[in-house]
């Protein structure tokens, strides 16, 4: 049984349809990349899974149960956490308070404040600073740490590399290995195709709200991706 | 061949005009065929409330200026009339003509202060300004301080020495002012400013970037509304014969129930205030024996409408039956041949 499955997932912003019947299936322990051009529906997909956009119950199945009708706060409790695009740390909270807030659902699991600080030692030194005082990379670490505090079975990462220097991106993706080693299933949404394909075992390529291509990353074919990516 | 054309009228609006015309004629001629003073007073009150509701709707529903301080101009207009006709010994009709402009004049400095505020701040700011006027009125001796002023019989004789004639004149003036306010609001919405207003309501930054002078348009609306509200205030208290700071600047009487009417009827439509006013008057008259139960009901209905049908009763009707009685927009009418090509 898949950990996460979407069945004909459609999503709308008002009258505008952003996703058209997406069927995705993600196994326990996989790291899956979702790639695609701007406006392909990648972020919409994550938001739908996380409960931020209204969907029909059976459109999103998590651990065999329909969750499409649930609110984001219910979905976190089931074990899906999200690192939102643009990090979205709480500006009036300190770094440590942001992390603690990530654990608001009090789901049991391997991650704790201590473990997050072990993963991102720099955050321990900065823990009493307000979140906006951090650099972009440090904020991204805090955002990942905050999501881990929910002890997710499925971690959704939206544009981890956005606006960060290459060396910082490399650090963050290295930490991702430790997270994956913990048994966490990860979905990466990235515009940086190479980065996403390196880190993942399988990928989906979205194009204008439709699923254009899926394949294991080990035998990916750059020409096929380019074709799917740009709709050529 | 018939050309495509741009129209404002709708079939419903033309049908409505056919029904409304005799009703209007009946209302205007009412003093001659049925001069019951009680009914005339009630209809006059309906006319004032309708006018106040149209004005608040223009302010909040179109210009996005959610003021809860319009009672300031009702009170200012009333006090202007009482001061001018009493202590200043000005002719009653001249005083009535001056009451509106006076309120508009006061609105200029007020707008400089409150226009710096946004949203909820604006709302409460306008309220505090009105409280300031009420307190000032209660301190000024020539305005009767806390107890207020009364209109004396000699002043009323300027209208007529015959009581029936006076009642009829006051009644006709109320209809006239309601018609005037309606015409002003209607023409303003059909003018260039009307388009600008709708644009501002939908998105102020976007319309500003398209070159709509949002400040000027809002400023004009605020002044026009204040002046009209002042005139209505003068007429309301001419009928009541007494004014006090509490009665003149009452937020509940002149703003809260008016807001309820607009919201219940349908904010942002010209028809909504009619519907809301009728509901208010009906509730009040039907429940007259039960104290202020009608106000509790008005509040409850307003809450229910806001939560369940935010565009009000009229908005629901429009959605359901697509009718518009006072069209302010323009519609493209395609001729039959072209329409069938599509």
């Amino acid at each position: 049984m898949s950990l996460l499955e979407t069945r004909s997932l459609s999503a709308f912003y008002g009258d505008f349809q952003a996703l058209f019947g997406i069927n995705v299936s993600i196994e326990q322990g996989e790291t899956v990349a979702i790639i695609g051009a701007n406006g392909a529906g990648k972020t919409t997909f994550l938001r739908s899974v996380a409960g931020m956009l209204p969907t029909k119950p059976e459109m999103v199945i998590f651990d065999g149960k329909p969750i499409g009708q649930l609110t984001p706060h219910d979905i976190v409790r089931l074990g899906i956490a999200m690192v939102p695009e643009g990090r979205r740390l709480f500006p009036s909270l300190t770094v440590e308070e942001n992390l603690l807030l990530g654990g608001h659902s009090e789901r049991p699991g391997p991650w704790s404040l201590k473990r997050v600080y072990e993963l991102f030692p720099r955050l321990r030194d900065l823990r009493h600073l307000p979140a906006p005082a951090l650099s972009g990379g440090q904020q991204q670490m805090a955002a990942v740490g905050r999501a881990l505090m929910a002890n997710p079975r499925l971690l959704l990462c939206d544009e981890l590399s956005l606006g960060l220097a290459p060396v910082v991106i490399r650090d963050i993706y290295q930490c991702l290995d430790a997270i994956i080693a913990e048994g966490t299933t990860v979905v990466l949404v990235e515009q940086d195709i190479n980065r996403a394909l390196d880190a993942s075992t399988r990928f989906y390529c979205f194009q204008e709200g439709h699923l254009a291509l899926t394949a294991p990353t080990k035998d990916f074919n750059r020409a096929a991706i380019t074709a799917a990516y740009f709709g050529l | 061949m018939e050309a495509d054309r741009v129209e404002r009228g709708t079939r419903a609006s033309r049908a409505f005009a056919v029904i409304a015309a005799p009703v209007l004629v009946a209302l205007v001629t009412l003093p001659w065929w049925w001069g019951d003073p009680g009914w005339m007073r009630l209809i006059a009150e309906m006319a004032y409330y309708l006018a106040l509701a149209q004005l608040w709707n223009l302010l909040a529903g179109y210009a996005g200026l959610v003021s809860v301080g319009q009672q300031a101009y009702v009170g200012l207009g009333g006090y202007a009339l009482f001061y001018l006709t009493g202590p200043a010994n000005v002719n009653l009709y001249l005083a009535l003509l001056l009451a509106g402009p006076f309120a508009g004049l006061i609105a200029i400095p007020v707008s400089f202060a409150v226009f710096r505020l946004r949203g909820a701040y604006f709302a409460i700011g306008t309220w505090v300004v009105s409280e300031v006027f009420a307190l000032l009125a209660s301190l000024i001796l020539v305005l009767g301080a806390g107890s207020g002023l009364s209109l004396t019989v000699p002043i009323l004789r300027q209208i007529s020495s015959d009581r029936d004639v006076r009642d009829a004149v006051l009644y006709l003036m109320s209809l006239a002012v309601a018609a005037l306010v309606f015409a002003i609001v209607y023409l303003l919405l059909r003018s260039r400013h009307g388009l600008a207003l709708t644009a501002i309501r939908d998105s102020e930054p976007a319309s500003a970037s398209l070159g709509v002078n949002t400040f000027r348009t809002k400023f004009i609306v605020y002044l026009v509304t204040a002046a009209c509200t002042g005139l209505i205030g003068a007429l309301i208290f001419l009928q009541k014969l007494r004014i006090s700071p509490e009665a003149g600047f009452s937020i509940n009487d002149w703003t809260v129930v008016v807001i309820f009417m607009v919201v219940i009827g349908g904010i942002g439509t010209l028809e909504g205030p009619f519907v809301g006013m009728l509901i208010y008057i009906m509730l009040r008259e039907l429940l007259a024996d039960y104290g202020t139960i009608y106000l509790i009901l008005m509040g409850a209905i307003a809450i229910a409408v806001m939560l369940k049908a935010p565009f009000g009763i009229w908005g629901w009707v429009v959605q359901r039956y697509n009718v518009q009685l006072f069209p302010v927009g323009r519609r493209l009418v395609l001729t039959a041949s072209k329409a069938s090509e599509r």
Partner: protein
Amino acid sequence: MNWLNILVQGGLLGGFYALFAIGLSMSFGIMRLVNIAHGDLIVLSAYVALIVTESTGLDPFLSTIVVVPVMFALGYALQRGLLNQTLSGGLLPPLLVTFGISIIIQNGLLQIFGAYDHRLKEGAIETASLQLPGGLAIGAYPILVFAVAVFAIASMQLLFYRTRLGRAFRAVSDDADTAELMGIDNRKLFAMALGIAMVFTALAGILFGIRTIFAPSAGPIRLILAFEAVIIGGLGSLWGTLIGGVVLGIAQTIGAALDPNWQILAGHLAFLAILVARPSGLFPRTRD
């Protein structure tokens, strides 16, 4: 004019206004709710205390043990049942719905209690005063009220910065959507926030009812005074609200020293002056 006296009396009066304002400040800070019914809820608390004292013979101070839970429950229910539905649609829905609640409370009280003035009687402390050197006399009751205000704000501070609930309040105030993603049920949290705001409203109502006579129509002016204190201090700043109350109290006391009739007017004028000069108040905190 005795300036020291004015500063002291005005400052103590400010404690009262700050106490009026805490609930309003909190609901604006957390859910951006401008609660027009706030003043009427203060008055309603005084009436609830009146019922409790008259039916049980309890002392008004002790009536707190009944009034506070009742008002907490009312606040929780109001937010859960009505106000949560108004938060996504712009300025008008919350404004109008709280206007509706305000009218319902005012006229409901009028139907039940009539337009008469009532008062909670606490006895000696109402008139007791401390004589200070220099001919300064300070009422014991204003000191008590000021102390309650300081205590209330200090406990809010603790709640916000030392507890899990307070952390969640601050997060929701920052970014409600992301807070949901962290597992916070915003609707429940908002209900909790209005419940807690009403605890302070209940305290304000009881202390108000002991100090002055009250009638069903007494609410709107309390709302305006509370709003003025909040805005002068700067939205979202707790200690700013106390300072806002003190500034308002001193302005009123100066006005009253010139002419007793000018007290409220002087406060309004000071408020408008500050609003025009510094629209975001003296100590702005909240970003919008």
